[in-house]
Point group: C2
Chain length 198, copies 2
C-alpha cells in the first residue's frame, strides 16, 4: 500500500475511529476509492457539516443545530416530564421505544468520585434550574444501571424529591427475549424484587 | 437522535460504508461530534484528497498518485518479475511479507463466466503487452485460491507459458500457526501433494 501517500493518510485517519482497526480501515478506504466521487464527497461534507452546525441545546444540552434542540422546541412534547440521561447518545434508544413523550436533560457524564467527577462536572445545576418554576411534575432518571449511574440517580433523587417533583427510574429486570438461565444474579434479584401481579 | 438533521445525514453516509451497521455508525458519529474539530476536518479532507489524487497506474493498474505507481517507478524493484493480483487490495498483504521484490499487475477482477466476466473485462491484454519485449522472466499468479482465482491462473498460464516466461503460483497448504485438525480436505490434500523433504 506504499504506492500512494494520500491512501496512507486516509487509512491513518480511519483507524482513529472507534471500532475501526487496520483491516476495517483498509476495507473502508478501498470502498471509498472504488465509490463514485459524488458519494465520497457527500461523506466528507457530512463530517464537515456536522462539526460546523452541531452545538449543545441551551435547555437540555443534547446536540442541536439551533439554540434549542428539536425536542425542546417541539410543542407536542410534554414539557412537564424530563428524562435525565448521561450522554446525548442515550436519547436515541429511548426515542426508538416511542414510550416517552417528555423532554430530556443530558448530564454529560455520571458521578464518579474516583475519576474526579463530582456534581459540579455535570449539568446538575442546570437541571435544578429547570425544576425551579414548578412546571415539571416528573423526572425520570435514566442513567446507566451500573455503579456510576446508580450513584448519580440516588444523588439526584435526594436533591429533587424535596422540591415536590416525582422522581422515577426505569425498571431493572430480565431483558425481553433473554434466557433466564443466562441472567446474572444482580439482574435476576432486581427482576424478582420488582415482580408484578399477573 | 431526531434533534439534528446534519447528524442524521452523517449517520446515513456512515452506514453505507462496508462493515458499518447502524450501531457502529452511531458510535462513529458520536466520536466525530466529540472529537476536536481539527481531527474531524482532517478525516473529511483525507477522503476528499484521496478521491482527487488517486487514479490507476498506467503500467500495473494499481492505485497511484501519478501516471506510474511508486512500485512501478522504483529503480530498486526487480522489473523482471511480475506478480499478478485480482485487486489493488491484494498488493498490501504481499508487500507486508517483504518476500517479493518484483512489480505487480492488477487484473481488476477474476474470470467468472457465470457473472459475465471474461478475459476482455480484465487487464489481461495489458499484461501480455508488458511481456512482449522479453524483459520479464517470471510471472507469479497470486489470484485468490478459489474457483475464479484458479480458473484465471490456469487461463493466464496457458497464454503466458508459450512466450517462454516462467509462470508460478504461491503454494497452497496448511496456514502457519493453524491446526491440522481444523484444516479442510482440499487444503490438506494440497498440503500433502506439495510436501517437502526435510
Amino acid at each position: 500500500m506504499n504506492s500512494a501517500p494520500s491512501i496512507q493518510k486516509l487509512l491513518d485517519e480511519l483507524e482513529r475511529l472507534p471500532g475501526v482497526g487496520p483491516k476495517s480501515a483498509q476495507r473502508i478506504a478501498y470502498y471509498i476509492l472504488n465509490a463514485e466521487s459524488r458519494q465520497a464527497i457527500r461523506l466528507a461534507e457530512a463530517i464537515t457539516e456536522v462539526k460546523e452546525t452541531v452545538r449543545f441545546c441551551q435547555t437540555c444540552f443534547n446536540y442541536a443545530e439551533d439554540d434549542e434542540c428539536a425536542i425542546c422546541s417541539s410543542p407536542i412534547r410534554d414539557h412537564g416530564k424530563i428524562c435525565v440521561v448521561s450522554e446525548p447518545k442515550d436519547i436515541a434508544p429511548i426515542e426508538r421505544t416511542n414510550v416517552f413523550d417528555g423532554v430530556y436533560h443530558v448530564l454529560h457524564g455520571a458521578l464518579s468520585p474516583l475519576d474526579g467527577i463530582g456534581p459540579d462536572e455535570l449539568r446538575i445545576s442546570e437541571l435544578l434550574r429547570r425544576l425551579s418554576d414548578g412546571s415539571v411534575q416528573e423526572v425520570v432518571i435514566a442513567t446507566d444501571p451500573n455503579v456510576e449511574g446508580e450513584t448519580t440517580a440516588a444523588y439526584l433523587a435526594r436533591l429533587i424529591k424535596p422540591l415536590g417533583v416525582r422522581v422515577t427510574r426505569p425498571a431493572s429486570g430480565l431483558p425481553v427475549g433473554g434466557d433466564l438461565e443466562y441472567a446474572d444474579e444482580v439482574t435476576l434479584s432486581r427482576a424478582l424484587e420488582g415482580r408484578l401481579e399477573l
